[in-house]
Structure formats: C-alpha cells, structure tokens
Symmetry: C2
Subunit: 411 residues, 2 copies
C-alpha cells in the first residue's frame, strides 16, 4: 500500500470499474409479484402486439367513420344496428355501409368498423336503428392492434428499476417471471471502542452506534440484503477475522469508523492485506468523506469499503461511491435532481468535491429554495433535517445566494 495522494471522486469511481469483476453482478429469475423495485438484468421485449385486437375505449357503437361524417345535434346520421359484441369474446360480425354494432369498453371491434361513437351521442330511433348526433375521426375511441406495445418492441430496458406500472406492463405481456440482478449481500461493521449497542445505556465517554443501523437501512432501501452487522472493537485481529468471516457470505463489506489516526491505519492495513491488489483508493477528495478506503478481493469476490466514522459522511460516501457503482453497473438511469435557488452563500472547499446538505422549501410563488444545513461532523441530525444534498465540484469556490443549484433528494 503505497498511495500518496487522495483520489478525486471520479478517479475512485473509475478504479471501482476497473478492479471489480464483471461476474460480481449475478442475475436471478423471480416471479412478477416479487419484482417491484428490482432491477431488470435484460431488456423486456414484447413477443406479441398489445392489444392483440382492435379494442374500444368507450361504450358505444362501432361505425364506419365516413357514415357519420357531417352528423351533428341537429342533423343526425341514422345507422342500422346489426348486433352486439360481448366483452371477452371474439366477434364474427362485419359491418357494411350504414351499419353499426354495439361494443362495450374493452370489447373487440368488428370488421369494417374504423371508429367508435360514444353511447352518449346516440339515441335509439327504431327497433334496429340508432340516430348518431356527432361525427368522429377515423380511429376515434379505438386502441389499434399493437398501439400500446408493438411486436418486437423493447418495452422496458435493462437496468430498469421496476415501478408499479412496469409490473402492470409485464403482466399485460404475460411475463410472469423476470430476470433481475441478484441483490448484493452486505455486511456492515462499525468499529470504535466508544461504541455500544443502541439498546445499552452509555457510560461517560461511550456513545450508541449509529452506523450499523443507518448504513443497513441505506443498503436495504436500495434493495440489498443484510447478511450481518456488528460493532467491532478497535482490535486489528478482531477486525480482520470479522472481514474474513463476512467474505464467505457477503458481496460487500462496509467498515465504518476508523476516522481517528490509529484506527484509520488499521482499517486500511487490514483491507490492504485482504484485497487481491491491495487498497486501490485510500482517501477521497470529497467533503465530507476523506477517510474512504476501497479494495476488492478476487478470491471471495468481495468488495471491501472503509467508510468514515462520522454518520453523515459515511452515508454520503455510501451514496456517492458504493450505491453509485451499484446503479451504474446495473445500468440504472440517474435520478433527476431538483433545480432550486440557494438561500445563502455557501463556501466550497478548494480541490475537493463538496456535498452540502440542504432543506427544500417551496415559496408561495412556487419558487423552490434550498436552505443549507450546517453542522459539525459527527452529528446525525444534519442528515435528518436535510431533504437532500447538492454538489460543488472540485474547482467551484462556492455558491452565491440566489444561484440555481440542483438538489439530489433523498429517496
């Protein structure tokens, strides 16, 4: 481990791309009912046209649109009703000039018809005839064959995090099983002799562990599975044993803590020993987030990450480094940041990418304002008070009140 300089975030991200093997990302096939929020590992193509028949979107009469051309409230068109289509059934009916057929919403259009007239615009005239008081355009009230999904069309791209409507679209296609990425199995280790379990009462000098809970929840929110989480005392062999053990069952091992001088070295040294090519990122030009360590073990196929001990820093690095990598490699589209006006001046950190926590407020005039949340490292409420964060790039000196910024909102 001979790394003399900290990495820019972009460099660390590139190194992750280089060092972690492709096979790290496994896929699995699951039932559609379980697929919400899972990430598609391959595109979904439509193997058929949806709808597979011309389908009415209204209750009314299937007509030839030319037959009602010019019809109005004062001068109706008269059509002969030659039958009715039943919902869910095929129809052998076919209409000719001056004829029409009753079709309910969702029903199949008979041959010869090219538009629907809503029942509200029709009136029974005689036993087998109706008066139509409106004209319609060709195709009105009809979903054409394949208008929703064409045969062979890509309906959902690989990398899609499945939304409720996607589940609906997959149901429409009869795709009751889908190929998705297997979620990472994650172990979270929180190091620090000062840490106790949240269920315990702290003695003077002790504090309850935040990071196993916070980082576990962050990983779970992303759909990952937690295999284990522990508080680990600042004992080198104990940390090494825990990481080795976790490597057997986990894809990702996160060690938070080690912000203090001695501990920082310890985590870095242990990860350096266990990673196949050693630690490849040791320190990030990111504020907060400097004491970030990255390595990859090809033997156990495990990504090893040392995160800062300060909760806000740990969670922001987890988001920008680890979750970024997960989303990028699984092909997920980026979430859209919200444009806002920054309420006060904010200082940047020269040479560092800076994350500024902000709260969002909407003024009466509809303007969206971002109010910076300041607070010392080591605090957690800065994160709970914020709605998201904005990024100042390495070369950005700061922000002036009134400038437009783009806020990455929490999920």
């Amino acid at each position: 481990m001979k790394l003399l300089k900290v990495d820019a975030l972009a460099e660390a991200r590139e190194k992750l791309m280089e060092h972690v093997e492709e096979c790290f990302f496994e896929t699995e096939e699951i039932g559609l009912r379980m697929a919400l929020s899972r990430v598609l590992a391959e595109p979904v193509l439509s193997e058929e046209a949806i709808p597979p028949f011309r389908r009415s979107t209204v209750d009314g009469y299937a007509v030839r649109y030319r037959d009602v051309g010019g019809a109005s409230e004062t001068i109706p068109a008269f059509l002969k009703v030659i039958g009715e289509v039943c919902l869910g059934e095929n129809t052998s009916l076919s209409i000719g000039p001056g004829q029409c057929v009753y079709v309910p919403t969702g029903g199949m259009l008979p041959e010869g018809a090219d538009a629907m007239v809503m029942v509200e615009y029709c009136e029974p005239f005689s036993d087998r005839e109706i008066a139509v008081y409106t004209s319609v355009a060709s195709g009105k009230g009809v979903v054409q064959i394949g208008e929703d999904m064409k045969e062979g069309e890509t309906v959902l791209p690989a990398g899609r995090r499945l939304k409720p409507q996607d589940i609906g679209a997959l149901a429409a296609l009869g795709k009751t099983r889908v190929c998705v990425y297997r979620p990472w199995r994650v172990t979270i280790l929180s190091t620090g002799d000062e840490l106790i379990e949240p269920s315990e009462e702290p003695e003077p000098g002790q504090i309850r562990d935040i990071n196993t809970y916070g980082l576990c929840a962050q990983a779970e929110q992303e759909g990952m599975e937690i295999t284990a989480c522990h508080i680990v005392p600042d004992v080198r062999e104990e940390l090494k044993r825990r990481i080795e053990e976790a490597g057997k069952t986990s894809d990702l091992i996160v060690v938070s803590g080690g912000s203090s001088q001695g501990k920082k070295d310890m985590t870095a040294e242990v990860i350096d020993e266990l990673a196949s090519e050693g630690v490849f990122t040791h320190g990030l030009a990111l504020k907060p987030g400097k004491p970030t360590i990255l390595g990859y073990d090809r033997e156990s196929h495990t990504l090893l990450a040392g995160l800062p001990g300060h909760p806000a820093a740990a969670m922001l690095v987890f988001e920008q480094v680890i979750l970024w990598f997960y989303r990028e490699k699984t092909g997920q589209s980026k979430r859209i940041p919200v444009p806002a006006t920054i309420a006060t001046n904010v200082m940047g950190a020269p040479g560092k990418r800076t994350c500024q926590l902000v709260k969002i407020e909407k003024t009466e005039s509809g303007e969206v304002t971002a109010i910076p949340i300041f607070g010392k490292s080591g605090m957690i409420t800065t994160l709970t008070k914020a709605d998201g964060y904005l990024v100042m790039e390495e070369n950005q000196e700061g922000l002036k009140a009134g400038e437009t910024v783009f806020v990455h909102l929490w999920k």
Copy 2:
C-alpha cells in the same frame, strides 16, 4: 344512491375525511431494524442530550483556545501534554493554563479544555511538550453536549416516513422500538369478463389483467400489505360475495374495472349496498379518472373504492385519492414536485382537473424539460414512458409551451 353530480377531487377528498373513522388508523410498535419506510405514529423526543459529553471531531489536542491565540506557523505556542484520553472512556483529567491533553476522534474532552487543535498542526517539542502552529476559535473541533439533539427536543415528527438517517438518529437515542402506523391490508379486485390471468394465453377478445398487478405493486410500494387479489367476472353476486369476504380481513378494498356502462352501475350498486352510508362519491371531475366510486363500511371498518378499469386512470386515481388520503391522515409531508419547462402546448379539460403524464429531460444547459406523453386510455405504456405527471386545475384552459410546470415524479 342519489348522486347527480360528479365530485371535484377536493370534494371527494373532504368526504373521505368525513366518512372514514379515526379508529381506521391503527398503530403498532415494531423493532427499529424493521422500521425503514414505516410512518411514525407519534413524535420522537430526545430523552437525553446527544452527545452526552463534549466530543472531539478530530484527532488532536484538547486546549484552552486562549492559550493558542496568535499562534502561527512562524510563532508557535508551546503547551504541556498532561495526558491522553482513551476512546470510550471517562476522563478525570482537567487542564489548566498552558496545558493540553491528547484526544482521539470521538473521545471526551477533559475539563478546562474548550477547543481541539488537529494533530496535523502540532509537533512534539520535548518529551512532554508540543508546539502548536495554529490558533483556533472557542469550540473548534468539538461537538458540545446536546449540540446534535437537545434533551426534550422533537427529533422526528409524527407522520415521518422513516429514512435511513432517521433510523440512525433513533439508534443514537437508544430507541430500539418505535410506534408506527399499521399498514393497511388491501384487497384488489379486477372486474371484467375480458380479463385473464397474465400466465394464460388470450383468446381473441381477451386480454391479460394489468390492474391487480399494477395496483398491488402500487400499494406495496406505499408499504401496504396485500391480503388478496383476484379477477372477478362481471357477475353482481360474485362481486358482492368477494367484497364481503374481503371485508373480514382488509382495510381497503379496491375494485377496478367497471368503466363500461353496465359494469359501472354494478360496482356502484354493490358498494352502495355494502357501505354504511352508501356511496358518497360517484364520479370524479378528474381526467383521467371519472368513474371513481367511494364508500365506507363502518361495520367491517373497510374503505371501498371503485376505480376506473383503464390502467393509467386506475393508478392515477389510486395515487391522488387513496394514497393521498393515507398520507394525509398519517401526517406525512408532501413530496416536492420538480419545476420544469413544458415542451409543447397541452390542452386542459374545462371543469375537470387534468393529469398530464410527462417525461423529464435535462438539457445540456441544465434546464429541466417536461415532455407530454399522449396516448389513448386503456394503454399502460403511457405510464411506463412517463417519469411523472403534472396537474392542470379545473379552471386551467391549458399550458403553453415554455411555461413552468411542477411535475410529481414517480417514487
């Protein structure tokens, strides 16, 4: 059931507030590890100060800031090191003028000290002395007692949908159990003789059911529990039996479909029979979403909702009526809509609140553009192509290209 006019969305929402009993919203106590995305039923107050001792945010020396006043790279201050604080332990050390104590990140400040000097700015001078090459402000590098959370402070309000950082804050407070709203148990019934299970091959005139899958996923995304979902044929007694049966186990029963004339009446009549005060909303001045029916059964404590059969309409009404009500009554804060520039003109529907699906694009200059997605009712891909929707109010004639709009993004 003698309702002659459709309700504006605001009216339907008010009626929901009136008709549904308070006791409908039950709470439960759960473990913190399970609490992510659950909604707090009561505010969380801090019963102690966090941190409970003055805590260092850096590795360095605890000093009296006045002792290093004026110190610089050329003119250091010299301090006597009287000891070291161990992480996680109490300290009985107390510093006087000209003295300092080593404190690691996260360690407790000794009495008499009022600031930290980072180790990077210090140099051993003799065996028990250091040279300090910087001055510091009072409180620098120290989180004061209660600076993160004051004793008695409201840390999280009731109605908070718990985020990962909230889980962290609750851990810091030792709140390993939290009181949250019990999720609604939901039954989804999809009516329509044309519907088949997604696993089946459609005959001509049949289509696969989208709504049980789509609405189930939407309810699940909100944290609700699905107790049952079925396709129900258009048979009045069968629908009634299903609803009665579901009422025994469900808080919410959603019947989608019934957009066609005969079916619309059937769903409304059945809900009217079962709801204690009958159907209170029959039709919404919402586009899409007109055929919406609402009732409440006080006997089984069940909210009964008839939604449109068209998938996009059903999902948009579920969002704006049912989920709105759920979020409002559990006190959740509203999600922030994203300001964007509408790309093309959009027509409104006079007298109706109109939801326009849009896709979001960010131009190179950073401008966020909303591109309308048009498509016939009955299609599902309009929803999968959209990133969210915007609302045109009842009195809004339409939108002009270039106007600023606010987009409600999908989760």
